[in-house]
Structure formats: C-alpha cells, structure tokens
C-alpha cells in the first residue's frame, strides 16, 4: 500500500508542476482517462480476492478522488492566472484626462433675479413684465413726473427716433412703468414684482447704459408703511442670508411715492473690503414708499379706497454686494473667463425651501 501512497504523492507533485491547461488535461487522461493508469488499476481489482479487493478498492478510490480533486483545483488556478495575465495586459493609465464635457454657467444677473423672485414669491408676489421701449406717459407722466420736472433730469433718458402720441418714445429708465401698466389692466389686490432691463444715458465705472432693476408693487385696502418695512426687512435678510442684518429706512423723495424711503443695510469696510452685516456704515440698496395717490388716480384706481407700497432696486448692485463682484461693466462684457468664475451652476435653482440665498 505504500506504493499507492507514493504514487499519489508523485501524481500530486506532477499536477502542481503543470503550467498549462493542455499539460493538465494530458496528465488527467494519463491517470484517469478511459485507459489511464488509475483507471486500469481499478479495473484490475476484479482479479483480486474479495478481502484484498475491499481494501485495495478503498485505497484506490481515495487515490482517484485526491487526484481528480487536485486536477480540478489546479485547473481553476490555471484559469485564474490566465485571466490575471490578460487583465495585466489590459492595464491603462487611469490618470489620463476623461472625455471633455463642458457645462455652461448661468449669468449672475439671471441668478440674482431668480433669487429675488423666489423670496418675493414666498411672500405672495407674482412676476409682471412690460416693454423696454415705452411711451412717455408710462415712464414719466403717469408716475407723477410731468415734463420739465427736475426729477426727469436725474433720469438721463434715452430717446428713440420713433414718436407716440406726439412724444418721443423712450427706453424705460426704470421698471416702474410696469406698475402703471399693471394697475391699468387689473384691479386690486395687486402684488407684483417686475424684474427687467432698464436704460440710462450714462456710462462710467459705476453706470452702465443698460442695467436691471426689480420693481415691487402692493395695492390693496390696508397695506401701510409698517408692512413696507416688514416686507423689505424680510427680503434683505433672506437675500443676504443674514438673520439680524440691520436695515434702516430713511426719508427720501420719489415722485411716484409719498411718503418715500430709501433703504440702507448695515455694513463695514475694513482695509478696503466691504462686508455686509454689522458695522458702522450704511449701504443704500433700494428705494421705496407708499404709492402716491396721484399715481393711483392716473392708473384709474380709487385712491380713497386703495393704498399700497412700491419699491425698486438695482439687480447688478445687490448682486455685486452679495457676491463681491467688483466692476459693474464686466457684467455685459461676456468674457467667458469672467462668466466661468462669477457664473452659477445651472442646477442651482434658487428656492426658499433649499437655499434661495446661497
């Protein structure tokens, strides 16, 4: 029986030394094939006496199982190393750059308008719009700015060659004409905001011939200055994401509101850097007031019954303040490098549920 043990050892050794699936198959046929060595040994059992056969049979069975087990195991390992070899060949430089995928950016003006809309939308305002080319009536007269009123001179108006009702048409100098159009075409309660392009005949480092404003108008039977204050304080704090942002209301003058207030927010300037929030300085950011009864009447609304407030602010200005964009003129330059830097991700849709103020 020592022969069988020795045989087993020698076969196992041979299996382990085999390096290819073909060699392994050859070995299997030689040992376990139809006329293989072990097969033949098992065949020869028939010639033995029963008692011997029983013992030898058991041993041969063990031998056969060990050998076929070892071959199977070897087969797996050869297969594995073949796969590994192949994978090794497939190795690539994973540090190479991937396929380029360009995603564009959203302009700060659009983003800021969306932010403003999302905040006022939460307060029940809806967006209204009007034309950029306006009649004198809508841009001035209906808003209580008659011809030769000193306030007109502060508007640096662009005039068009075209005339309407004997007056030159203008590029709207503010979004306020949409107040008039809305009041003429609907009846209170009114609660609108009006983002849009506006134009003034002025061009230097802090003025652009075209810029954007957002206008707000509330008209109903009871809205008063305390609501104006509440609404605009909420807005400023939400927009700049500063819960206790100081907000100051300062008497001022606009022909279309009475009383009128300019709104300042607190800020500080340290080493030339402006920071919105607490500090010893105030920064003017918007104009507001109770709608002048004359304007209501001009728009066909009974000023004895209805009242409300209006406000307006520069989109670029609040965008510059919030995002630290230094130069107004760069907004319109379409410099791709600038837009990549100051622009916004397109999936960054402002909402009050998420972060309207990012």
């Amino acid at each position: 029986m020592e022969d069988i043990e020795a045989l087993k050892n020698s076969i196992i050794l041979a299996i382990s030394e085999t390096t290819s699936p073909d060699g392994l198959e050859e070995l299997r046929v030689f040992e376990l094939g139809k006329s293989g060595r072990i097969t033949n040994m098992m065949k020869s059992l028939g010639n033995m006496r029963e008692i011997e056969r029983k013992i030898a049979g058991k041993e041969l069975n063990i031998l056969k199982q060990s050998v076929s087990g070892a071959i199977e195991k070897k087969k797996q390992s050869l297969l594995e190393s073949k796969i590994n070899e192949k994978l090794e060949l497939e190795r690539i430089d994973v540090t190479l750059p991937p396929r380029a995928q360009t995603i564009g950016k959203i302009h700060p003006i659009s983003q800021t308008i969306d932010e403003v809309v999302s905040i006022f939308g939460e307060m029940g305002f809806s967006v209204a719009e009007g034309p950029d080319i306006e009649e004198d009536w809508y841009n001035f007269t209906a808003l209580n700015i008659p011809p030769d009123h000193p306030a007109r001179q502060e508007h640096d108006t662009f005039y068009l060659e075209a005339k309407s009702k004997g007056e030159r048409m203008v590029l709207r100098t503010h979004t306020s004409p949409v107040q008039v159009r809305t009041m003429e075409s609907s009846s209170p309660p009114i609660r609108i905001i009006v983002p849009g392009r506006t134009y003034r005949c002025d061009h230097d480092s802090t003025h652009s011939p075209m810029f954007h404003q957002v206008e707000g108008l509330v008209v109903d039977e009871s809205t008063n200055m305390s609501h104006l204050k509440g609404c605009l304080i909420e807005f400023c704090r939400a927009f700049f994401s500063i819960e206790d942002l100081p907000v100051r209301f300062r008497p001022s003058y606009f022909p279309f509101t009475e009383p009128s207030a300019e709104v300042d927010i607190g800020c500080s300037i340290t080493e030339g850097t402006l920071k919105i929030g607490h500090g010893d300085k105030w920064m003017e950011i918007l104009g507001s007031g109770m709608v002048n009864p004359r304007v209501l009447e001009n728009c066909g609304i009974d000023s004895k019954k209805y009242q409300g407030f209006a406000f307006g602010m520069g989109i670029e200005r609040i965008s510059m303040l919030k995002y630290g964009i230094p130069d107004l003129r760069t907004f319109y330059d379409s410099d791709i490098r600038w837009m990549r830097h100051y622009g916004f991700r397109c999936l960054d849709v402002p909402t009050m549920v998420g972060k309207a103020a990012r």
Partner: protein, 801 residues
C-alpha cells in the same frame, strides 16, 4: 449742499452736538454725505508770538526768530520777508505733518543753525496758495492756543444731499427749520427791518409779458444804491464762502452768493452805470444774445426770460447775469434784483443753453415766492453795512404769485398710511414747526402750505412730513397679509419656460451672456435691422445706437472679443428681448446661441472636429424636446434670414406659418466683415411663438400602453437624387403606416461616384411595432415593400442593391 456749523447756528438756537445734528439730518431726509472739520489736519499747530528777529550768521536771506508759545522760547529759522518782531504766527513743531508740503517736519539744522520748528505760510497750512510770507494772525489769541481756531478753521462743514422736492432746503435757514421741527433746538426769528431810503433811483422797472406768459416773472423787487465801495469781503464772509466751495470775488458778488446759500434766495447786482435807461423784464427775442458771467456768449430764442435795459438783455433771469453789466472793483452805483421767476421756464432755459448755476438750481426747484421783499431788505442792509453808500426806496413791479394751498389731514390717515400711532398733539406740533399753520377741526387739521414748500400736493405729503420728522424708525414692522400659508406660483408658464430654457442651455455647454439691447447701426443692418424708428436720438456711442433686431449679432461680437483674448472655442447664449419695432408687440423674447471653433480640439481620446450646423440644430431640437414639444410635428424649410448661409441653414416651423426657430451657419461674408477666420453657427428659438400647454387639463399624463410584442427593425438603403432632403424620405416612410411604424432614423449618408452621377445613398432604420400579435415574415415583407414603393413614387428613390 454744503454749509458750516457756525453758519447754521446763525439760524438755530441749540446746544446739540454736530454728531446729533448730522444724525438728525439723515433721519429727516436731508441725507448727510459728509461731515468734515477743516481744522482737523492743522489742529496740532499753535499760536506763537515772534519776540525777537536776528540775522542768520551764514545766510543773507534767512532770519533767526525767537518765538514764544506762552511758556517757552524757541529759535526758529525763517526766510519769510514779513517775519518781524511783534507779530503772531503759526508754529509747527518737529514730528508734525505739514499738509501744504505733504511731509512730516524733522528737526533740522539750516546753515549751521538749529531750527526748532517752522513758522507757516497759508500754503504750507494747506488753506490757500498764498506763499509770500508767513501767516500773521490779527486778533487777541492766546499764545499756545489752537491755530485752527485762530484761523477760523474749526468750523465743521456739513454736506447734505437735497432731493429735487426740497428746494426750501437749498438755503441754510430751511435746513435749520427742519432741524428745529425734529427737536434740534429752535429756529431763530428773522429780524427784517426796512432800510430807510436816502437817495432816489434813476432806474425804473417794468414787467412786460403777454397774458399767457405772465407767470414767467410775476413779481420784481429791486433797489438802487449810490456810492458803494466794492472791495474785498471781510474775512468771515470769505471764509464761509470758501468753506462751502465758493470763490470770493468782490463784496457785492459775495453778498449775492451768501444769500443764495443762506436763504435759497439768489440775487443779482447790476452795475447801474452800465445799464442804459430803465429795466424791463421780458421774453428774449430770437437773434438776441448775452455774454454771461461765465465768459460765454449765449444765443437766445424767443422763450427765455431776460432782464434787459433799453439796449439789450443784461441777465438771463434766474440763471446767470451778464458780463457787460456785471460789478467790478470800480463799480460805484448798483441795482439789486430780487425777483420771482417761473421754475419750468427757468429749467427749460437752462437746459436749452446747457447752462447750470446755483441760481438756476434753486429757481427750477422753486424759491419762496414771499421772500422777495424780506430778501431784498436783508441784502440791502448787508450791502450798506459792507459797502457803504445810500439806498433808494424798493423798486417794485408786479405782485407776488398767489400761494396758500390748503390741504386737510385726517387724523386717522397718519395711522392708516403710516402704520404708526402718533399722538395728536405731536402731529400738530410737527406741522406747526414746519410752518403749516394747522387748524384743528373734529377729525383732522386744515393745513396751509407754507410759501416755501412747493412740493406739498396733498394729504399724503402731510403724512410724510409728520412721519419723517417723527422718525421712520418708530414705525413698527408688520408682515404682509398672506391669506393662504402657501403662496401661489410667482411665475407664469412662459416665464418658467424661459428660466428652464436658460438652465437647459447651460447644461448643454453654452454659457449665458447678458449683452446690451442696442448695437451699432452697421451691425444691425448686417443682421436684418436698421429701422430708423429704432435708432436712439442720443446714444452714448455709435456702437450702441440702435435697438437690436436679434441677439445673434451681439453674441457673435462677444465671441469675437473672447477670441481676441485667446478663447477661440466658445459657446454663448442669451435669453432676452429683440426688437422689430417700437410697439410692445414688436418686442419678443428669444433664446439665441452661437457656437464657434472646434470640439475635442486637444483630446487624446477623440478626434477633433469643427463645430457645425448639426451642433446648433441639436441645441434647438433638444431644447424644444425639453420643453415638451413633439419635434415630429415640426417641419424644416430653407427660408432663413439673410445673415445665415443660404445653403446651410434651416427654419423650424410649427404648422405652415409659425416659425419657432432658425439654425445654421452665419453667412461667410458677415463673418469675414466681422473679422472672423473660422465659421460660426447659431440658433434662435422664438419662445413667444411656441404655444403654451393647454391650461385646465390637470397634471394627468396620457395612459401609456406598452406592447408585449417585440419590435422589429429593418434597414433600408435608398439611392436618391443628391438634392433630395432626407426629411422627404423620412416623411414618406412615416406616412406608409402611422400605427405600425414607430421610428424612422437616418443612420447613414453616402455620396460616391459608384452610386451614380448626382446621386446619394441614404441608410434608414425603420422600427415596426406590432400591436396585436408578433409579426409574421409576410407581414414584415409586405410593409417593407410598401415602404420601397412609396419611396419610388414620392421621392424617386430606389432601394440600393
């Protein structure tokens, strides 16, 4: 407007600090822009006496002055010719900053003599250009005390912004009145005593207007002075004018400026000896002109108010006096004018002549129409005090314009509009202090508008007056009434769509630009615009002189600028307005995009290629799909505007007429005109032309029926004439069986001589979807045959063998 603290204190009795005054000014709507103390930067310098002057041993022109600060003596080297014993001067010591020299004084030795400081000139002090000698202080100033004080430079200067409605605060007295109303002291009474005449006037005044122009100058008050002396103004007057930025000229001129700033009452003084005959206030005549005090000659039309003599206009009323009748140092006899001129006419005159002045600024905002006589009396007294001479009676023409507007303020209106409870007595006292003469009745006050308040038009103005003086900060804050907790949508469907398109295009790789609504006429006409109506009358430059007919032109220019900065590949879009005319309906919102350059230009992975028309066609169709437009219902034709390449552009329509977009290559000649060397492609999506989804349908989507049977795909290759559009083949195939044919896709295009002259081969994959049972071979063959037949009939194409 600027004024000094001491000047304000002429009219206000208060012990409030300058800080309290500044804060209150902003609080009541007279916004502080600046508070400066001109003495701040010279406050370290002190008054010294020069006790002894000796010659410098080593320099002819230098002296050694022994100065005394009240406690000690110093030796100071000085070169000023007026340095002499007995005068008082201003001393700077080592380490102090000399503003006029812009340096810190160091201890120095001048030609072997140590100088322990420096006696300063006005130039060195930084208060004037005077550098002839050192400052000589006249007055009994304590040695060692502040030189700023001795020089009268410790007067704080306030600068405030005045809104256009507050003409009354363009005079310091008006500011004082507002401050007093707000609790800063009391307004000092104005003591106006009529000047006793001691001579007659050789000049009479006549107001001469047609009835309809009478408002131009309803009232004129003047006075003749004999034998005045028009020298330099006294120091206090010069100092005040200088501190608010006015240059002292001569005492008569200075007095008029002083009244402009003190009372908002511009005056004019004529040299009476240069006036021919009597004075008449009238409209100018076309062809007349006036050499004004600014040295310029102005051509007048027939609508300007002038003060004329018998020969010519001598002054533009309310705007500027004339040079020829102006006062000089030789002037002996003068005529003072204090009249009321119509604000609108004054404004128009000033604007027409492009002539700004302190007088115009006040007249066009409206001066106090009842202050002619008091103003003239006060100015007369000042002239007599400072120039001597004898005054005539007041020479008066016309009558003061009628004022006395009345408004009723309902007591509950303050609360209703202002949202704050203010005690009735407080309301009344504010109105009283502002000059409204309120008379209480059962539910409010009758208020007479003071003559100086042109801005008060109604009850709301009175509410504002009360609130601004009471303090906006005392108004509580309240939230708007919501009705519902959840807000309704802020944007409508088309606004929402615009915003969606914007973000979708950015996701597709285009960056958003915001370009001007105007461009150059040259560019506009290249891009199909140039209508005269849309031209600006007053553009800021010719590059921005006409409203844009489309956005493509601006985006292309922007890409050109980027290319000049080394960004040759680019994709920009803008969602904004374009203008076909001036009516609101001529303005439409368009999503436009331009791409230029190469894709994969530096890729190790993929082959580089030029951007082409199919990139922008994809932008357009993908965007339409993204806003849920079925692009299978759109048609494409070749009728595009002339700025596109005629053979490489398409127009996308919904139905036969409604154009929803253009796409294509920009016309090569336009590109070369604009300096581009590569091609550029563009698309335009007319958002306003795309119908909105029907409202009221609810949100339920159509029921989706998924077939359990496998779809079958068949490929065909057709040979067609080379100028056949693939679209025709696709439509012909679709028309064969609208139910079974699910998809038709062009997957191959092949042009080669072997196919035949002027022929091309188009490979098409057709997907067939069985509805009731799996297709049999025969069914597939039948439908395939129908497709082949249809192409032969409708398009003249043959199945390629």
């Amino acid at each position: 407007m600027k004024f000094t603290h001491s000047w304000l204190m002429d009219h206000l009795e208060t012990d409030s600090t300058s800080e309290e005054i500044a804060n209150t000014l902003t609080k009541i709507g007279l916004e502080i822009e600046n508070v400066t103390n001109p003495g701040d930067f010279i406050k370290e310098f002190i008054v010294v006496s020069v006790d002894k002057v000796s010659k410098h041993p080593n320099a002819d022109r230098l002296k050694i002055c022994l100065v005394n600060n009240g406690e000690e003596n110093y030796e100071v080297v000085c070169g000023a010719p007026n340095a002499r014993e007995g005068i008082k001067g201003v001393l700077a010591r080592e380490g102090q900053f000399i503003p006029g020299l812009d340096l810190k004084l160091k201890k120095s030795e001048i030609r072997g003599v140590v100088s322990n400081g420096m006696l300063l000139s006005e130039k060195e002090l930084g208060i004037s250009d005077e550098h002839e000698g050192i400052v000589e202080l006249s007055g009994n100033f304590a040695l060692g005390s502040s030189a700023a004080n001795a020089l009268g430079l410790s007067d704080i200067v306030y600068e405030i912004a005045i809104t256009p409605n507050r003409g009354d605060c363009l005079g310091i007295r008006g500011v004082a009145r507002d401050l007093a109303a707000a609790g800063i002291g009391t307004l000092k009474p104005l003591d106006v005593k009529p000047v006793k005449p001691s001579t007659g006037s050789p000049i009479a005044v006549n107001i001469d207007f047609d009835e309809e122009d009478k408002s131009a100058c309803p009232y004129f008050v003047g006075r003749y002075f004999r034998n005045v002396n028009n020298g330099e103004s006294p120091d206090w007057l010069k100092r005040r004018l200088l501190s608010v930025g006015l240059r002292p000229i001569s005492v008569l001129v200075d007095i008029t400026n002083y009244f402009t700033f003190t009372f908002g009452r511009p005056l004019h003084v004529f040299d009476a000896d240069k006036v021919s005959g009597n004075i008449v206030v009238r409209l100018s005549k076309k062809g007349e002109n006036l050499l004004a005090l600014d040295g310029k000659n102005y051509d007048l039309d027939d609508e300007m108010t002038v003060i004329a003599d018998e020969k010519r206009p001598e002054a533009l009323a309310g705007v500027m006096g004339g040079e020829l009748s102006g006062c000089t140092s030789d002037t002996k006899n003068v005529f003072l004018e204090a009249a009321y001129f119509d604000p609108i006419r004054t404004a128009i005159t000033g604007r027409k002549l492009n002539l700004q002045s302190d007088a115009r600024f006040r007249f066009e905002r409206g001066i106090d129409p009842l202050f002619q006589r008091p103003g003239a009396e006060l100015a007369s007294q000042m002239i007599l005090d400072l120039c001597g001479g004898q005054a005539s009676d007041l020479i008066v023409a016309g009558n003061p314009p009628s004022i006395g507007k009345k408004n009723f303020l309902r007591e509950d209106r303050v609360k209703k509009l202002g949202g704050v409870d203010i005690p009735s007595e407080k309301i009344e006292s504010i109105l009283l202090k502002l000059g409204f003469e309120p008379t209480k009745s059962r539910d409010g006050w009758n208020c007479i508008t003071p003559s100086w308040r042109h801005d008060i038009e109604g009850e709301a103005d009175l509410v504002e007056e009360v609130l601004r003086i009471y303090g906006f900060d005392k108004i509580p804050t309240n939230q708007l009434d919501f009705g519902n907790i959840l807000p309704t949508p802020a944007v409508n469907t088309s606004q929402e769509r615009r915003s969606f398109v914007r973000r979708f295009l950015a996701l597709r790789g285009l960056t958003e630009a915001v370009t001007f609504s105007f461009l150059s006429e040259e560019l506009a006409s290249m891009f199909g615009g140039g209508k005269t109506d849309l031209k600006l009358v007053n553009p800021i430059s010719s590059d921005l002189s006409i409203m844009r007919p489309n956005v493509v032109a601006n985006l292309l220019s922007a890409l050109g600028r980027n290319s000049d900065r080394g960004q040759g590949n680019g994709a920009l879009f803008e969602v904004g307005p374009q203008f076909q005319g001036t009516a609101p309906s001529d303005q439409s919102i368009v999503a436009s995009g331009v791409r230029i350059g190469k894709i994969n230009e530096h890729s190790w992975l993929e082959e580089s290629r030029n951007i082409d028309i199919f990139d922008v066609k994809a932008d357009l169709l993908e965007t339409l799909t993204a806003i849920e437009i079925n692009i299978n219902n759109l048609s494409i034709s070749r009728d595009t505007p002339s700025y596109y390449h005629p053979g490489r552009s398409g127009s996308i329509k919904m139905g036969p007429k409604n154009i929803v977009g253009f796409f294509g290559e920009i016309h090569p000649s336009i590109l070369s005109n604009m300096g581009f060397r590569s091609r550029a492609v563009a698309f335009e999506l007319f958002l306003d032309n795309i119908p909105l989804p029907k409202t009221g349908k609810g949100f339920t989507k159509e029921f989706l029926e998924l077939s359990p049977y496998q779809a079958v795909e068949r490929d065909f290759a057709f040979t067609v004439d080379i100028d056949r559009d693939s679209d025709q083949i696709v439509s012909a195939i679709r028309a064969v069986d609208k139910k079974l044919i699910k998809e038709v896709l062009v997957f191959d295009l092949f042009v080669d001589g072997t196919i035949g002259k002027n022929k091309k081969s188009i490979g098409i994959r057709v997907q067939l979807q069985p509805l009731e049972a799996t297709f049999s071979d025969k069914e597939i063959d039948d439908i395939s045959q129908k497709i082949v037949d249809s192409i032969r009939e409708k398009v003249g194409g043959e199945l390629r063998k």
